[in-house]
C-alpha cells in the first residue's frame, strides 16, 4: 500500500519537524517575556513606549513604596533593571519574589503598569515563622 508508506514517512517527517522546531527555539521566538539581561541587550529593539514583558526577581532592599506607585529593581542574576510600577501590586508582591512586569522602557527605567507574580516550579517550606505571610 502506497498510503501506508506515506503515513509512516509522514509521521517520521512530523517528528523530525517538531524536533527541528524545538532546536530552533520556537519559545525564544515567541517572546512572551524577556529577562533583564535580554532586555538590556535588546534595548535598541524596544524604543521608549514600545511595550514588552519583563521577568525577574525583585532585588532585596530595593523596594520603595510611594503613595500610589512603587520603585524597585529586578534582576536575573546578570543585569539589573530599575522599575517604576504605577499600579497596585498583587498581594504576594514582595522583595525576593519572582515577578512578571508589563510595560515599556522610559530612558533607563522600565515603567510598568501591571505586575504579576511569576511562581516557578520550585516549592519551599517556609523557615520558622513563615517568611511570606499571606494577608
Amino acid at each position: 500500500m502506497i498510503h501506508r508508506r506515506f503515513v509512516l514517512l509522514g509521521i517520521v517527517g512530523v517528528v523530525g519537524l517538531v524536533l527541528a522546531l524545538t532546536l530552533t527555539g520556537l519559545g525564544e521566538n515567541l517572546t512572551y517575556y524577556l529577562y533583564p539581561t535580554e532586555a538590556v541587550e535588546q534595548r535598541a529593539d524596544f524604543p521608549d513606549g514600545n511595550r514588552f514583558r519583563l521577568a525577574g526577581l525583585v532585588v532585596s532592599g530595593s523596594l520603595i513604596e510611594g503613595d500610589d506607585d512603587m520603585t524597585f529593581e529586578v534582576t536575573d542574576g546578570g543585569a539589573t533593571v530599575p522599575v517604576l510600577l504605577t499600579n497596585t501590586a498583587p498581594s504576594l508582591f514582595d522583595e525576593n519574589v519572582p515577578v512578571l512586569l508589563v510595560g515599556a522602557w522610559f530612558g533607563d527605567t522600565f515603567v510598568a503598569d501591571e505586575a504579576l507574580i511569576r511562581h516557578d516550579e520550585n516549592y519551599e517550606i517556609p523557615e520558622e515563622g513563615g517568611a511570606y505571610p499571606v494577608e
Binding site: 504579576l116 516550579e121 516549592y123
Partner: protein, 236 residues
Amino acid sequence: MTRVRVLFAMAGAAVAVGLWFAFTAPTDALQGEFSRIINIHVPSLWVAFLAFGVTALGSILWLIRKKPRWDRLASASAEIGVLFTAIGLFTGMVWGQAVWGRAWDWGDARLATTAVMFFVYLGYLALRRATPDQPARAQRSAVLGTIAFVQVPLVYFSVNLFRTLHQTQSIRPDGSTMPPEMLIAMLINVLTFTLLYVALMAARTEIAVVEEAAAPVASMAGEGISPPRLGEVEDV
C-alpha cells in the same frame, strides 16, 4: 452495579485520605495556603490527559475491531476528560488570580493550549450528540478522537516549548523540585483522582450499556405498513 459501588466506596475513602493530606501538608513559602490548590489542579489535569489518551486508544481500537465496547470506552473517557479539564481550568484560574494576580492570560501558551484542548473535546461531544445513528456516530467520533489527541502532548510540553507565565513541571526525570512532604501529598491526590476516574468510567460505561439496551426495540422493515382497509373505515 456492585462493581461500581465498590469502586466508588474505594474512591470516596481515597478522596478523604487525599483531602487529609492536602490540608496537612506544608505550604509553599511564597504562596502560603494557596499552594494547596495544587492538590486539585494537577490531579485534575493529569486525569484529563489520561482520559483523552484513553479516548484516543478506544477510538483506534474501534477503528480496528469495530466492537461497541471500544466506542463506549472512548466516549465515556472524553466526557470525564472534559469535566476534569473544566475543573483544572477553574482551579487554575482561582490559583492564578490568587498568586499571579491574574486569572487568565491568552499570551500564556499553557493556558491557551489547554483552553483549545477543552474546545476540541467539546466539539467531539457535540459531534456525538449530532449523530443519531450508532455505528456512524462511533465511526465518526473515532476518527475525530484520534486526530484530536495530537494536540494533547502539545499542551503538556507547552511549558517547555514556550516561555510561559505558567510554571514548568515540578516532577522531572532527574527528580522533583518540591519538598518531599508536598510531593507525597500531591502524588496521593493524583492517585485518588485516578481512582475516581476509574470509578466514573465504570459507572459511565455501565450506563451506556443500559442506555443502548433501553433504546427502542428495533422494528422490522415492512412491519409498519398493513394492507389498506378503506372499506372498513367510514367517513374518510
